[in-house]
């Protein structure tokens, strides 16, 4: 059983009178523990693909199996449940809640899942320590550097121990050195804990570090280094 199986996935957007094909008939399989870089020109459908994989969006056609289960037909509530338990997001613009401290931001997924406070406290402390944020636990996002903010975001994405982490240009707002530091953290998750890692990036050298490269063009997969797609 593969972690992710897409078959015949289509996603179109209605823009006035014209229809935009953001994804055209995508077939794709990703195994658990893979490290995939998704690349391609702007507007090729990378973000749309990531949103679909993260169950934030639904395809117009096709089926999506996550861990063998058809998730396209699930109710919104069941999808929210899967997002909570199996999927972690890392965004280009961090998306931290400005009024909450670093610790409270990391606590968010645990709180939403209704986990007991003592267990939450333990997991948040552990995450803060793992990402070197213990000193910054009670700082709000505007008191943190870009690198620290993204570390908080990664800690938040991993605190529920998801099966897959979806990162949309996670280094896009960071300088080269900080960006590399963040990538190392994500790669460590993949190599040490076996978390499946899917990163969208414009950076060729970053993409080259991944074990598998997907190149998208005009809503279709133009090249797959795993050689499955023609």
């Amino acid at each position: 059983m593969s972690l992710i199986e897409l078959s015949g996935i289509q996603r179109t957007f209605q823009l006035g009178d014209s229809i935009v094909h953001a994804l055209r008939d995508i077939d794709l399989t990703i195994e658990a523990g893979e490290y995939v870089a998704m690349m391609g020109p702007s507007g090729s459908g990378k973000s749309t693909m990531l949103n679909l994989l993260g169950l934030l969006d639904r395809p117009n056609a096709g089926t999506y199996r996550l861990e063998g289960r058809d998730v396209t037909t699930l109710s919104l509530e069941e999808q929210a449940h899967i997002r909570s338990e199996r999927i972690g997001f890392v965004f280009q613009s961090f998306h931290l809640v400005p009024r909450l401290t670093a610790a409270a931001n990391i606590d968010l997924p645990l709180m939403l899942a209704g986990i007991a406070p003592s267990e939450r406290h333990r997991r948040v402390q552990q995450a803060l320590q793992e990402y070197g944020l213990t000193e910054r636990a009670h700082h709000r996002p505007d008191q943190l550097s870009g690198g620290q903010r993204q570390r908080v975001a990664i800690a938040r994405a991993t605190v529920m121990h998801p099966a897959v982490i979806l990162a949309d240009e996670p280094t896009g707002n960071l300088d080269r050195a900080t960006g590399e530091e963040v990538i190392h953290l994500l790669e460590a998750l993949n190599t040490q804990q076996g978390v499946t890692l899917i990163i969208v990036t414009h950076d060729q050298s970053l993409g080259a570090r991944a074990r598998r490269q997907l190149v998208m063009e005009d809503g279709a997969i133009a090249r797959d280094s795993a050689g499955i797609t023609p």
């Binding site: 993260g54 929210a80 449940h81 997002r83 997001f89 997924p109 709180m111 529920m160």
Partner: protein
Amino acid sequence: MRLADTLRFARDAASGTPLRTGLLVLSMAIGVGAVIILTALGDGARRYVVGEFSSIGTNLVIVLPGRSETRGFNPANLITSTPRDITLEDAQALLRVPGVVRHAPIVIGTAEVNAMGRLRQSMLVGTNRDFLSIRNLKLAQGRFISADVLGRGPAEIVLGAIVRQELFGNENPLGKTVRVGGRRLRVVGVLAEGGQGMGMTTGELLILPAATVQAMLNTNTLFRILIEARSREQLQEVKAGVLKKMIQRHEGEEDVTVITQDAVLETFDKILRVLTLGVAGIAAVSLAVAGILVMNVMLVSVTQRTAEIGLLKALGATARTLRNAFLFEAGMLSLLGGVAGILLGHLGAAILRSFYPTFPAYPPHWAVLAGLGTALGSGLIFGVMPAKRAARLDAVIALGKR
């Protein structure tokens, strides 16, 4: 998501924008405060009036000659009904009605009074020794007339304060003689100032034994009979008993009217209650306005926190969780405003009382509860729409917003 977490999350979100939250709470507080102060005023007025009436005596049953037509004024009745007089014997008979403690027959008339060479026209009230306590009157000097239940007694007179001043000036009137309608009476007491009721100031009155006044006016009719019931609960029973007795004594004809002080009081009570409710209702409109403000503030909040809502969805928040979070926030702000409004209202009522100490401006409990309830209710009702909007937001689009 746990309830405690939802509450904490809502609280943090509200305190994140102190100015907006503060203004909202203030507007709620003013609305609730207005309800409380206005009802305190209305209910205070009601209690003031009821209190004033009660001082006349609340256990009173009054018998008047003639039948009052409750079914509207009918000229035919005026001509055909020639009511029998009510006499002192009737009054005495009424003492045997169960529940009656005592009574005071009243005869009124006017006569010339003269003392110390001064003369004036004055109103006479003929009654018995029980009149003073039944009417809750006070004496400034001396004692009351000692006339027995039939209004018979020695030639004594009690003066109203104004009459006393005009006839005797600064001299002590006690023991002096006055001439009323050609009769000589000894002054035994003087009424205290300030008594009022039944359309006459007690200051202008002369109080004499009823039999004496009847003899003076050459009549045996009574103006009315005041009857005191043992308790307020027995009032209706006494009223019915008195009416039955009078009909029996008047050969089966109902030619008297029996009223209770209670009926008059109740009418005032009712009118002022309705007034208070009306005023409270008007004030409650300001709460609905505050509710609309809640809706606006929450809509702005949803718009400003779009990215956050998208994020929460990505982190696994269900639509229900988001809806609850925003609804709790609206409810919390309304409740806070309501509690602040209660404090404001009590403060306002206290200030009113300190300026007008005789006026009992206490907010009634029902108004406090209704004010709080309306605040919370309107906050929640108007909070539903923004909360639903937050829950329905498209996660991808929401995340795209900064």
